[in-house]
């Protein structure tokens, strides 16, 4: 067998073994991946009660409205970022609810009443977690959920209050 043929045979064997090992070890994981990929939103919604067809889409607000709601104190802020980022700094009074908490455990967040205004944010314009968590909260029966898409980046950049 020539050198290149031997190399290609070795690679084929390694590839086959990798597929077998990957599928085998997946079965041993506490949360195995399904065979067909499901995106973050599908995973989140799969762990939550089905949304009624009449359920509203979460509305979005800008910094001025978010700031006004915070100073008025009548809304609860929900930080959808990972706990590491939340601990580095967040909007004072916010509760940390990363999407994994809803996705993996189907956890019922300990928030205020179902009609309490909730404002969900994540890192900034580029992250989608605030929208996903907001949809999840609506599916759980929370009635007044809005998204602050500017998120922590805009809040911090515009001098919003922070706590650690």
């Amino acid at each position: 067998m020539t050198g290149i043929a031997r190399d290609l045979t070795l690679i084929a064997v390694a590839a086959a073994a990798s597929v077998a090992l990957g599928l085998l070890t997946n079965r041993l994981r506490p949360h195995p991946l399904p065979l067909v990929y499901r995106g973050p939103e599908a995973r989140l919604m799969g762990n939550l009660p089905p949304r009624p067809p009449t359920a509203p889409e979460p509305e979005t607000i800008g910094f001025a409205e978010a700031w006004q709601a915070w100073t008025d104190g009548n809304a609860r802020f929900v930080d959808a970022r990972a706990s590491d980022f939340f601990e580095e700094g967040h909007i004072p009074g916010a509760v940390n609810l990363p999407r994994e908490l809803l996705t993996e455990g189907g956890a019922q967040p300990e928030l205020l009443g179902k009609s309490q205004p909730l404002i969900v944010y994540c890192s900034g314009e580029d992250c989608e977690d605030s929208l996903l968590v907001a949809k999840g909260l609506l599916a759980l029966g929370y009635l007044n959920v809005t998204v602050f898409p500017g998120g922590w980046e805009e809040w911090e950049a515009k001098g919003g209050a922070a706590e650690k």
């Binding site: 690679i11 990957g22 599928l23 067909v36």
Partner: protein, 132 residues
Amino acid sequence: MIPRLLVAGVFLGAGLLKLQDPQAVADGIAAFQIVPDILINPLALSVPFFEVATAVALLSRSTWSAGALAAGGLSLVFFVLFATALARGMDVHCACFGKWEILQVSAPAGLVRSLVLLAASLWVFRQGAVNK
């Protein structure tokens, strides 16, 4: 010797970190919007093992040319993924090192990194062929 160890180190690190969080790897693959859903999870589960096998092959005297060929193939695939993402105006942050955000790079940086790895792999393969 040094390029071979460097390439092996990169693939060993990438493989081991990916093994810790296959879901992050699957989301990373999906972000390129080019791989069919039915292949994403099988790839996310098996590519890390293949990367570790590639690194191990590179470290062994009897198999390092196969390891270099595999490393070159993987680098070429990564290069094509980043190039097609950039061509479509997407700035994808790959999960090349699992969920370690500090190692997640933008598409242009990923393109350059893949090209460097490809060049290093081919150089190692050529050295292996010359020494046989």
